[in-house]
Amino acid sequence: MPDDFRTLLALVLVFVPLSLLSIGGGASLLADMEHESVAVRGWTSPREFADLFAISRAAPGPGTMLAALIGWKAAGWAGAMTATVALYLPSSLLVYGAARLWGRWRGSLWHSAVERGLAPVAAGLLLSGGIAVLRISPGGPAVWAAAVIATLLLLRWPRLHPLALFATSGALFGATALW
């Protein structure tokens, strides 16, 4: 099946560079994936891409699992697995190598200074990630309000299980839509 093989190869050629060049985490990866799969390769129509994005939001796991869906659309199960490996393997090897190099200096004065210095930046990046998701969320003010309430509940009761909160919030939104 040379055609199938060609599609799988194309998936590798799209997702390996994305894996290695897309800096900035999920949001920038999603934008690049949309460009490649809609405009460049024609694996999905814009409408289909929006649907796949909605589906990937419903699934657990990293938001970038959307890559598996693009692969699935392009070449079935083999495509889903090819896209997943092509997207995550190169960047994982890179970060693994970097972490090991970095671990070699553990115990030195500047190693601990760098780690302590990066900590507040990392906390800021986490919060910024939340703001970025809030911004692209299609749900409007209700989502903003629910996000704030969820934040306060989790801060006030740290033992509260996030899944309970997720289920409640999902059920409330679902019920309002049915009304």
Binding site: G61, A68, Y88, S128
Partner: protein, 200 residues
């Protein structure tokens, strides 16, 4: 340990990473990350990972978590997967990293394709989209709660707090590109850490 050889290089040092822990088994690492994968709704793997691996299991410390987040975000790729690689590596070297990443991704891969197949049979009702909005809102809440909890606090840490808030302002609110912002703020913050160590 063939994975170690395959992933590149000698393993002797990788294994030396673990002794601070009472070596956690590969099966436990895989299982923990599998469970993390199939229950981390809302897309923010890092916040869920903090809840499970730091707060519940105490497998890594706050400081190790934040260092992993920072490196994971600066490097290309998905921040959550990059963080998972590092946690697995800390716990059990190269084999730990492989177990953690496979654990994290295998469940969601099957689930997301199954959902897409279901969706192809006639789409979803508006109620499903509303439920997804609700879940997304809770996920944002979990992210905010995690970030706020990890902010530096106390009178001695006003400098680091200012760095964290500057990061939020530049990246989160003004939407400047992340990498240049980090490259400007990180040296300042590292300098602060060095000075504080010296005066302490």
């Amino acid at each position: 340990m063939s994975e170690g050889a395959r992933l590149g290089g000698a393993i002797a040092e990788t294994d030396a990473v673990a002794p601070e822990h009472h070596r956690i088994g590969l099966a436990r690492i895989f299982a923990a990350f599998f469970w993390l994968g199939v229950t981390s709704f809302g897309g923010n793997t890092a916040a869920w990972l903090y809840h499970r691996m730091v707060q519940r299991r105490h497998w890594i410390t706050d400081a190790q978590f934040l260092a992993g987040v920072a490196l994971g975000r600066i490097m290309p790729g998905s921040g959550g997967v990059n963080l998972t690689v590092q946690v697995g590596q800390r716990l059990r070297g190269s084999a730990g990293a492989v177990a953690a990443v496979f654990g994290l991704l295998s469940g969601p891969l099957v689930i997301v394709v199954a959902l897409a197949a279901a969706y192809a049979r006639g789409g979803w009702s508006p109620a499903v989209h509303a439920i997804l909005d609700g879940v997304a809102a809770a996920a944002i809440g979990l992210t905010f709660a995690t970030g706020l909890k990890l902010l530096p606090r106390g009178a001695a840490r006003l400098g680091p707090l200012a760095v964290a808030l500057a990061t939020v302002l530049c990246v989160g609110i003004l939407r400047w590109p992340m990498l240049p912002v980090v490259l400007c703020l990180a040296p300042v913050s590292i300098g602060l850490a060095l000075v504080q160590r010296r005066s302490a």
